[in-house]
Symmetry: C2
Subunit: 159 residues, 2 copies
DNA sequence: CCCCGTTCATTGCAACTGCAGCGAAGAATG
DNA sequence: CATTCTTCGCTGCAGTTGCAATGAACGGGG
């Protein structure tokens, strides 16, 4: 029964290491070429999905604290990559949108991202499907144990 | 060919989110019960594998900057969880080891970790093997693209 | 119409992070 | 040996992080 604990086999650890490695690998693209931080890249990536998004929406979907989103957005605005304006429907909301410059950057980044994604799939080989299925199972809200209050995106935070 | 870029399908992103979620989920154990940070937990976990380890060894294997290891070790020492002493064979090395108190904590943590691991495997269900195979493939040093100078543990950093 | 509880985004603050640089100790070279 | 190069752990520092608190704006109930 009680196998000795083996760190190298512990899934949260293994996945965290993998995530760090992939993240770092791809960060070369947006960091070297555009000087973006990971947080900034994520905000941009999210904006490429829906043209106009509020800080709250990004916070809710992405694994980022809302202050992190806020500050990333400010830096992007300062760099002329996104615009911030107050929503007319709800004046508490800040609506983010890519500028033309931002869109051009994002187009290039999207291409690079797809190339990288293709390479990863290639690395996975035929086992890709199994891996993706596992990701889904893991991500699913089974959470038998460790039930939590939880908020948007699991109260974000972390990383 | 050129599918539009979809953030939710981008593997580095998905894996990062998953890693964050699992990490946070399990961190409740060592954080709530023992007040450990993630870095401290990792150092302890590593120490549970081999009784005596140097800062450098942890830095090399784990995805942690050496200063991070150093400071985590200092905090653990202050808390009476590990001891630091200078190696006799090489007086540059600092040898870390769990104290009795630390061992007791680690035993409890190991149990919790195994429970959590079991739950994760359960979540994965029959697809577990495929997932683990994918992890291995992904981690493997295929790295066709993005070759790097690299150092210990991919020059650590990140996360 | 006016409260009052809630939802947003931002900001202050303390803690943490990574990086560069340091001194001490070992290894290599002649 | 003396000299130089490398390895190891630590620390200063600037930048970042998460958390809590703030203030503005909604929205519902009386």
């Amino acid at each position: 029964m009680s196998e000795p604990f083996v760190l190298d086999g512990f899934l949260p650890y293994r996945i965290a290491v993998l995530a760090g490695r992939l993240s770092r690998e791809f960060s070369r693209v947006y960091q070297d070429r555009f000087g973006l931080s990971r947080a900034e890249w994520r905000v941009m990536a999210h904006l490429s999905q829906e043209a106009e998004v509020s800080v709250r929406e990004i916070h809710a979907r992405v694994d980022m604290d809302k202050s992190k989103v806020s500050r990333a957005a400010s830096r992007l605005e300062e760099a002329g990559i996104v615009t911030k304006r107050i929503s007319e429907r709800d004046r508490r909301l800040v609506v983010l949108a890519l500028t033309e410059k931002g869109s051009a950057m994002m187009a290039e980044l999207a291409r690079a991202a797809q190339d990288y994604q293709a390479e990863l799939i290639a690395r996975l080989g035929p086992g890709a499907e199994g891996f993706l299925a596992g990701m889904a199972a893991m991500t699913s809200p089974t959470e038998a144990a460790t039930r939590r209050h939880a908020g948007p995106a699991e109260a974000a935070a972390g990383q």
